[in-house]
């Protein structure tokens, strides 16, 4: 009896592996944590967006090599002279996975849904660029027909914006502005994203969703560009432990990993089989400086602390992933903006820091209370904080104490400004400096430094209305200069994306936004 079950188990598992090998065009991806949901309007995480980008399609898509907008559901578009009106022409053969055509009404329904206060979308602000979007989302205007959206025909969508937004087309690749299928959403409510219910419009459809195990996508026969799609299927494995993922990659169970364990980066850099991938990414690792807390409320102290950190050393020996030291706040290259380095690199900065500290009334750190660094529990954050603590002690004679908190407690502490210095990271929502610099305006919910500066606010407001890209970048540069003078944030390094990619994978391009539309990908 037992032997026979054993045998059948064996036969079964052999069957599965045979099945896997018989279908070569199936990509296996390590995808971090288990997705919360697959509803484009309510999710916020990276693992979710990775899947949704291949399950749904927005008006425009992105060329993975140039990151320039290319046709998606819309085959072409026109922009008015004042940069505030967009007219999209929707493809006739754009279809939902149940065969329904995708129409301009679908977008109007979807964007209203995104902005509807009842949906309670955390990404609703991605719809604030549409005229009336903010007021409708905040409940000030109840009538959704006031929104700047019109559908003169099923193939035409007219969008009126609040401001000329040069990066609007790039925003459309974000999942919050993807369409959803009206009747499906209304019929199944919260459960519409389950495999048995979901209707999507991307190159792939959802086939299977086993919690904490796998999410499988299958090529959609109804997609307009289906002949171009080479993969038959994609398996997203939620693997939280980078070490596990790495080992699965080594035994060829995965084609792509989400990351590489920090301590194994050195090993993989030396590997020359070409699987190790590393490229810059639009994110900054920094510390919030609570400007209401003494002694951090003193600008000179903040500056001295900022100068006393050897970022080169931090990146090379502690973070180790080939990240760039951050001498500015905005990651370079975002929306063609390259901020000038404002924190000097050479040895003079330590002398400068010492001088500033003396000016602030704390020669050699005497009389300065211990600086408290708060971080959310993680070995990586701990190591960085420990290294910085050591640098402040050696270079300035400043004492620091470290303390960690569990994630939600940490968020609570940060929101209530109940800290002195706190670890943070920010990743671009869209490819424009505004996604970083807007965060520090007065009253912005994400401005955890409690910092307020009127000339800074004016610069950001001006940039929002500016049409000329050069002039906008000049305004952003000025804003950067204020930031690095006032230092409500203490930038540390610019993120890199590090992962392993099988050499069998073709059509996968490295880019700063880390977007890899799978419709271009195939297996050798």
């Amino acid at each position: 009896m037992r032997r026979s079950t054993l045998l059948s188990c064996l036969a079964f598992s052999l069957g599965i592996s045979k099945l896997l090998f018989a279908t070569p065009q199936v990509l296996n991806i390590g995808n971090g944590s288990e997705p919360k949901d697959l509803d484009p309007h309510t999710v916020t995480g990276v693992p979710e967006s990775q899947i949704i980008q291949n399950l749904f399609e927005g008006l425009v898509s992105k060329d993975p090599q140039t990151l320039k907008p290319v046709g998606g559901v819309a085959e072409s578009w026109k922009v008015s002279k004042d940069g505030r009106t967009y007219i999209f022409k929707i493809r006739k053969n754009a279809k939902w996975s149940n065969g329904d055509p995708v129409t301009s009404q679908d977008f109007i329904f979807s964007w209203k849904r995104l902005l509807d206060p009842q949906t309670a979308s955390e990404y609703a602000y991605q719809g604030y660029y549409i005229r009336g979007g903010r007021d409708f989302n905040l409940g000030k205007v109840k009538d959704s027909s006031q929104l700047g959206l019109k559908a003169p025909s099923p193939e035409t969508l007219e969008v009126v914006l609040e401001n000329p937004t040069p990066y609007f087309l790039s925003l459309l690749y974000h999942h919050s502005l993807y369409p959803v299928h009206q009747t499906t959403v209304q019929k199944h409510q919260m459960r519409w994203t389950r495999p048995e219910n979901i209707v999507s419009n991307g190159p792939f459809t959802l086939q299977k969703w086993e919690m904490n195990k796998v999410i499988s996508l299958q090529k959609s026969p109804h997609h307009w560009d289906a002949p171009q799609v080479k993969l038959e299927g994609v398996n997203y494995y939620p693997i939280e432990k980078p070490e596990t993922e790495e080992k699965l990659f080594q035994v060829k169970k995965l084609h792509v990993t989400g990351t590489v364990p920090t301590e194994k980066i050195a090993y993989w850099t030396k590997d020359n089989s070409g699987v190790f991938r590393r490229h810059p990414y639009l994110g900054t690792y920094f510390y919030w400086m609570n400007v209401t807390r003494p002694p951090i409320n003193n600008k000179l102290v903040r500056k001295a602390l900022a100068l006393a950190i050897d970022r080169e050393k931090l990146v090379k020996f502690v973070v180790k992933g080939g990240q760039a030291p951050a001498e500015f706040f905005t990651p370079p290259g975002i929306g063609d903006f390259h901020p000038k380095a404002l924190l000097p690199k050479d040895g003079s900065r330590i002398a400068e820091a010492k001088k500033l500290l003396e000016q602030a009334g704390f020669p050699q750190g005497k009389g300065l209370p211990s600086i408290e660094i708060l971080y959310n529990t993680s070995d990586a954050h701990k190591k960085i904080a420990e290294a910085i603590q050591q640098m402040w002690k050696e270079n300035l004679g400043v004492q620091a104490t470290l303390y960690n908190q569990e994630w939600k407690v940490f968020l609570d502490t940060q929101h209530s400004h109940n800290y002195m210095v706190s670890r943070a990271g920010w990743i671009a929502d869209y490819n424009d400096p505004n996604t970083f610099l807007d965060m520090l305006t007065t009253g912005n919910g994400n401005n955890h430094a409690a910092w307020s500066n009127t000339s800074y606010d004016e610069l950001i407001a001006k940039a929002a209305k500016e049409k000329s890209p050069q002039k906008r970048n000049q305004l952003f540069q000025k804003a950067e200069e204020i930031l690095l003078e006032e230092l409500p944030v203490l930038p540390l390094y610019i993120y890199t994306r590090i992962y392993l990619l099988s050499t069998d994978v073709q059509g996968w391009y490295e880019n700063v936004e880390d977007v890899h539309p799978l419709k271009y990908v195939s297996l050798k």
């Binding site: 920090t262 194994k264 020996f317 502690v318 529990t377 070995d379 190591k383 303390y403 960690n404 908190q405």
Partner: protein, 296 residues
């Protein structure tokens, strides 16, 4: 004289004798136990003595010498930030050993008293006390610790409370199981019939007879407390960086085990040898304190 009479006789007679002096005498004859004890004392001296005279701190980093193999300069190698593992182990030992032994003792005392009272009184009271234990098992530990930290801050006493909190429950169940089987034995019945007060029966006759199981479980509790401390530091309770404990050192060692196996090996070795000593000492203590062994 019947066996029962003999035992109850000895219960009456033993009262004036020094149980402890007797036990100490027998413990000294057990070489392994003495060895274990000596090792623990030696360790303690090392942990508290060496840092006083050493020049390198446990937190001193040398970023250019990370993950270095053991050498003359760094006896046990260096960690990912180039800190001396030997120093970190010594400082970590202070914390881990103190926390491990104290928290285990606290959990043992609470668990033994609770368990023996429940087992001895039996019936409804036993049912009630054991259901309380069941309920306490079910409370989500993370929330318990987080809430305690909100109200009491991050302090050392809370660390002991949090660690002891979970450990005494199983101890109580084990002791109660033992007592349930003991309480109807002849010598307890005899003690009852002689009119000895309940408190005395529990303290003098029941608890000593459970010591075997208690000591074994106690020696198992020490390492699990030491390792659990690493989990509490996840919640922000416990040792604060850059200080390390054995639990956190082992945890960090696992991440680099294929490049720098010594970072896992030495902390694990420290914990194991300590546990070996504790076990020998524990076995010795059990034999020494065993009321039955005394009749040999």
């Amino acid at each position: 004289m019947s066996e029962i009479m003999a035992q109850s006789q000895s219960i009456v007679n033993e009262e004036g004798q020094s149980l402890w002096a007797d036990a100490w005498f027998r413990l000294k004859k057990n070489h392994l136990a003495v060895l274990g004890l000596c090792f623990l004392v030696f360790e303690m001296m090392l942990f508290f003595g060496v840092p006083l005279i050493s020049t390198v701190g446990y937190e001193a980093q040398n970023l250019e010498l990370t993950l270095a193999a053991p050498s003359f300069q760094h006896w046990l190698g260096t960690d990912t930030l180039g800190r001396d593992l030997f120093q970190r182990l010594l400082y970590g030992g202070r914390i881990s050993l103190t926390v491990g032994i104290l928290a285990s003792l606290v959990s043992a005392i609470v668990g033994v008293i609770y368990g023996s009272v429940a087992g001895f009184l039996g019936g409804k009271i036993d049912g009630f006390l054991m259901r309380v234990v069941d309920v306490l098992y079910a409370l989500p530990f993370i929330f318990l610790v987080i809430i305690l930290m909100v109200y009491f801050g991050r302090n050392l006493i809370l660390l002991f409370v949090a660690l002891g909190l979970t450990q005494w429950l199983t101890m109580a169940r084990i002791v109660r199981g033992q007592v349930l089987s003991l309480r109807h034995k002849e010598f307890i019945e005899a003690a009852k019939s002689l009119g000895i007060r309940q408190r005395k029966i529990v303290l003098r006759h029941l608890i000593p007879n459970t010591l075997g199981a208690v000591i074994v479980y106690l020696t198992l509790t020490v390492p699990s407390v030491i390792l659990e401390e690493a989990f509490l530091s996840y919640l922000g309770l416990g040792v604060q960086a850059p200080m390390a404990s054995w639990g956190t050192l082992i945890k960090e060692g696992v991440d680099v085990m294929d490049q720098a196996p010594w970072l896992l090996f030495f902390p694990a070795l420290c914990l194991s040898t300590t546990l070996f000593s504790l076990n020998f000492l524990g076995d010795g203590l059990r034999d020494a304190l065993d009321p039955k062994g005394a009749k040999d």
